[in-house]
């Protein structure tokens, strides 16, 4: 690990160190309670009957035999779910419509994706519930499945939702599968292309890729006779689940309590409701708590991967290689309901560059597959696969090194982001320079590998903006000077530690003396979700705010002890001092012991609504690959990721985010896809055939933490969780092109496709 910084650092005692995470011991002992680990008195188990068809009218559902089966407590179908009218909901990382959400959770009259829930059963145990599903009779009338952009957008296409009203550049459109067509435009790209010294245009196809969290979804619900609904779930968004459940089930929001269990990975895929409302309605019917755990096949079939699609990009440069214009046409397949992160894709596709003339068209297209979900920097890796591949190919054509191109064209402070805002101070160029100066970049690549294998090197950059939004953190001061910190963001990768460390920094305590707890929605103020790279950044600010309030209150208490005016008490480096009587001083821990006699407990809540984004985090990745030209297999042999963290609160977990995103991006680049039959049925819905990287598929992943402080955070912190998945796929594509002298325009760049590209090169076609 390397850290680069461009300024005399703010002095920190805790931030920037590497304490052991607070929840770590429970997790290495196997004691941490994940969703499926919950046990409650009287607990029964639920299972879901799912549509085997991607598109079918449900003519009849007869659950009578299942309901009568031994050990069955309740059966529900679409008829048991409340009907919702159209209403737009902000989900934090995406916007969805309440009616679509309701229909997605349980089909009514029509199944629109393979795996669409049609009925659910609660029974004495899991296997009894699964066996009872076999007794439910469903008559389907299969309809033609729309599973590609071509099918969905063709004139006369089968329309999936008769009542979908598309927004096509502000015009209402009916009878369409295109839910939205947006455009961002400034300058005159067409005229600029005319003047450009070089112009290149390419079309890229990107596979649907699943978040691939190892923990399947699970939810437990108890609908009490007093009307209160308690839900224990594995979610990134406990408060989002609370409000969505209230909306879907027609309950007041305060009737719902959501307890977030430990969460076994999410990456954006555990934000939407899936099992929670089904468990709730089953519980109401059965008058018992109901636990539901999804099987892996259903996770693939029926929860949201990131969208696949097609992206056409065009870029023109002048004789020096400076970009004069760029356009993009982004078409994403949203799945069975609208919402495929096309707006983020429009931001991200050219965000790394100064582009004086620009046009970005984006299409959100409905198809008969499960509704896509946010997946780490939603929509952006797909777009960047196109733009960063194009840049590399353009550089080849104009004889310019990609490094020089990036440094020349990098967007910096004051430049306009494609969607309008002006960049504040950002670390785009700094990341590129960090890569340029890295041992990896400075070392020559030996181009021949063993046994005739071919090596190549590629690089790519990436951007993700992140969000701020609402967070609440409460700090309680205990007599012994240890503080408990109560927070509402599920800890998906070390955020208990990173939030606690920010409070510890203010309180002058070691990280270990702040005890963080993630609590239910009744026990803490509102918190937006653990997503959007916001948790360390925004909830950290709530923790800082709470800690400052604690310090202010404790100053008052010390003033009472010292019989002086509160203005005379100062707090520095963890010590309260009386300015007028310098020998009067208490360390935080001593001071904490005096609270009982000076007015009682000190408990303070910091609540923030962080307006600014996470500051925007840029990254640059460099990768070496080795390709076997006889089999088409690509092995990543060296990897370096540089990214701007603003200020790394816990560098180990920052590195972990860089590495994890890189690994997911490499998986997407090389093997991950939804392989479906022509009826839209996914055939590789298992960890066996949905080939995520194993330990043996990756090398050590070197990281460089760049620290360009974020003015929106007291410590300069940026949200960093997502950017790392943006550059890997194009970096790998560029490395493969460098290795084999032929370019691939499609993910995954699996062995068969590499062989096809090599064959095309031999036939003189060079890809296209």
């Amino acid at each position: 690990m390397t850290t680069t910084t461009d300024r005399p650092a703010q002095q920190f005692n805790v931030v920037g160190t590497r304490p052991i995470r607070h929840d770590g011991v429970d997790k290495v002992l196997g004691r941490a309670q994940y969703g499926a680990d919950l046990k409650l008195p009287g607990l029964i188990h639920g299972a879901v009957l799912r549509s085997p068809h991607a598109h079918a009218v449900i003519k009849r559902v007869d659950a009578a035999k299942a309901a009568a089966a031994h050990g069955v407590f309740a059966v529900i179908t679409g008829e048991d779910m409340p009907v919702s009218a159209s209403e737009l909901l902000d989900m934090g990382e995406e916007v969805t419509d309440l009616r679509w959400m309701s229909e997605r959770i349980m089909a009514r009259g029509k199944a629109v994706y393979k795996g669409h829930p049609v009925a659910a059963v609660a029974a004495v145990d899991q296997n009894a519930a699964l066996e009872a599903l076999k007794l439910i009779e469903v008559d389907y009338e299969p309809l033609p499945a729309v599973i590609s952009l071509e099918d969905a957008m063709a004139p006369g296409a089968v329309v999936i939702h008769d009542d979908l009203v598309g927004d096509h550049l502000g015009e209402k459109a009916r009878g369409t599968n295109v839910a939205e067509h947006t455009r961002i435009e400034f300058g005159d790209p067409d005229a600029a292309f005319e003047q450009a010294a070089h112009v290149l245009e390419r079309t890229y196809t990107i596979s649907r890729a699943h978040q691939g969290y190892i923990e399947p979804h699970s939810a437990t619900a108890f609908w009490s006779p007093d009307g209160k609904l308690a839900v224990w779930t594995t979610t990134q968004a406990p408060f989002g689940v609370r409000s969505n459940l209230a909306q879907v089930l027609k309950l007041p929001v305060s009737a719902v309590k959501v307890t977030p269990m430990e969460i076994g990975g999410g990456f954006g895929g555990k934000i939407q409701l899936y099992l929670e409302p089904l468990a709730a309605v089953l519980s109401k019917k059965a008058a018992r708590p109901v636990k539901m755990v999804m099987d892996r096949k259903s996770v693939f079939d029926a929860t949201g991967p990131g969208p696949g699609g097609q992206v056409t990009v065009k870029m023109g440069v002048d004789a020096n290689g400076a970009i004069v214009a760029a356009t993009a046409d982004i078409r994403y397949m949203a799945g069975a309901y609208p919402g495929s992160s096309i707006s983020a894709a429009s931001v991200g596709v050219f965000a790394c560059y100064k582009v004086p003339n620009l046009r970005i068209d984006a299409y959100d297209v409905v198809i008969n597959m499960s509704k896509t979900a946010a997946y780490r920097a939603p929509g952006t890796p797909q777009a960047a696969f196109a733009s960063e591949s194009l840049v590399s190919e353009l550089c080849e054509r104009i004889g310019m090194s990609p490094m020089d191109f990036h440094l020349l064209n990098a967007a910096e402070e004051g430049d306009r982001r494609p969607d309008g805002p002006i960049f504040p101070r950002v670390g785009n160029k700094a990341c590129m320079e960090a890569i340029r100066d890295s041992a990896h970049f400075q070392s020559a690549l030996q181009r021949e590998g063993p046994d005739g294998k071919l090596r190549g090197r590629g690089m790519a950059s990436g951007f993700w903006n992140g969000i701020g939004n609402r967070s609440s953190v409460t700090i309680n001061v205990n007599d012994d000077g240890v503080v408990s910190l109560v927070e509402g963001n599920p800890d998906i990768g070390g955020t208990r530690a990173t939030i606690a460390m920010q409070a510890a920094e203010i309180l002058g305590l070691p990280a270990e003396d702040v005890h963080p707890a993630v609590v239910d929605t009744d026990a803490i103020g509102y918190n937006d979700l653990t997503a959007g790279s916001r948790t360390t950044y925004a909830s950290g600010q709530a923790a800082i705010e709470a800690a400052r309030l604690v310090v202010e209150e404790m100053k008052k208490r010390m003033a009472l002890v010292w019989e002086t005016d509160p203005e005379n008490v100062e707090f520095e480096n963890g010590v309260f001092r009386n300015k007028v009587a310098p020998d009067q001083r208490f360390a935080f821990k001593q001071a904490a012991g005096k609270l009982g006699q000076t007015g009682g407990p000190v408990a303070k809540t910091g609540s923030v609504n962080v307006r600014g984004s996470g500051g925007g985090s840029f990254a640059a990745h460099l990768v070496d690959v080795e390709v076997d030209p006889e089999t088409g297999k690509t092995q990543v042999i060296r990897y370096t990721a540089a990214q701007d963290a603003g200020k790394a609160v816990h560098p180990s977990y920052v590195e972990g985010q860089f590495q994890g995103g890189a690994a997911q991006g490499v998986g997407w680049a090389l093997n991950e896809e939804y392989y479906t039959d022509e009826d839209g049925v996914m055939l590789n819905s298992s960890f066996l055939d949905y080939r995520m990287p194993t330990a043996l598929d990756l090398p050590m992943l070197d990281t460089i933490i760049v620290e360009t402080p974020n003015a929106n955070h007291p410590f300069g912190v940026r949200g960093i969780g997502e950017t790392s998945i943006v550059p890997p796929a194009p970096a790998v594509a560029n490395a493969i092109a460098d290795a084999i002298g032929a370019r691939l325009y499609q993910t995954p760049m699996n062995p068969a496709r590499v062989m096809e590209a090599l064959a095309a090169k031999r036939n003189g076609a060079n890809g296209r």
Partner: protein
């Protein structure tokens, strides 16, 4: 000449779990994973795929690591089962557990018990495996958060901790 079968009844399984005798009832179709989690309350062993492709349910069965989702509970009768719950010594952590914490080798932590049980079996057989051997041994355990870098480092760290000669004399 198929005769009428009696309804399938639960069977008693007696085994050694983490060094202690254990006896539980299991349906014949139940996996060892289900029995550990449901009958014995040992939920540290996780289910990720239920088809032997993620390793989250790794336990040691008579000293060999297995995917407990692909073992019938009934097969454990008379055998020794070691799970994550039995890994730490009293009032402490196993060097691998400590190394996973020090190296930040877990993010969400769902795969961690499986990795720890698998890595322990490796170091017991081969105290000083090289990086490739570690990666090969752990290839049956999927992690989606870390990219494996810090997991490999943690195993290397534990390996070197465990290979150190025990401190001479008592304190």
């Amino acid at each position: 000449m198929t005769q009428q079968e009696a309804p399938v009844r639960k069977i008693t399984v007696a085994c050694d779990v983490n060094g202690y005798p254990a006896e539980f009832l299991a349906a014949p179709h139940q996996s060892l994973l289900e029995a550990l989690r449901e009958a014995m309350g040992l939920t540290g062993t996780k289910e990720g795929c239920n088809d032997g492709n993620c390793g989250a349910c790794t336990v040691a069965l008579d000293g060999r690591i297995v995917d407990s989702c692909l073992v019938l509970a009934a097969e454990a009768d008379g055998k020794r089962v070691d799970t994550i719950e039995g890994m730490a010594p009293p009032n402490g952590l196993h060097p691998l557990q400590q190394a996973f914490l020090e190296e930040a080798a877990l993010q969400c932590g769902i795969c961690t018990p499986g990795f720890l049980v698998a890595a322990k079996a490796l170091l017991e057989r081969e105290p000083e495996p090289d990086e490739h051997r570690i990666r090969l041994w752990l290839a049956g355990n999927l992690c989606r958060c870390t990219g494996y870098d810090k997991i490999v480092r943690a195993v290397q760290r534990a390996s070197s901790e465990m290979s150190k000669p025990a401190p001479a004399g008592g304190a």
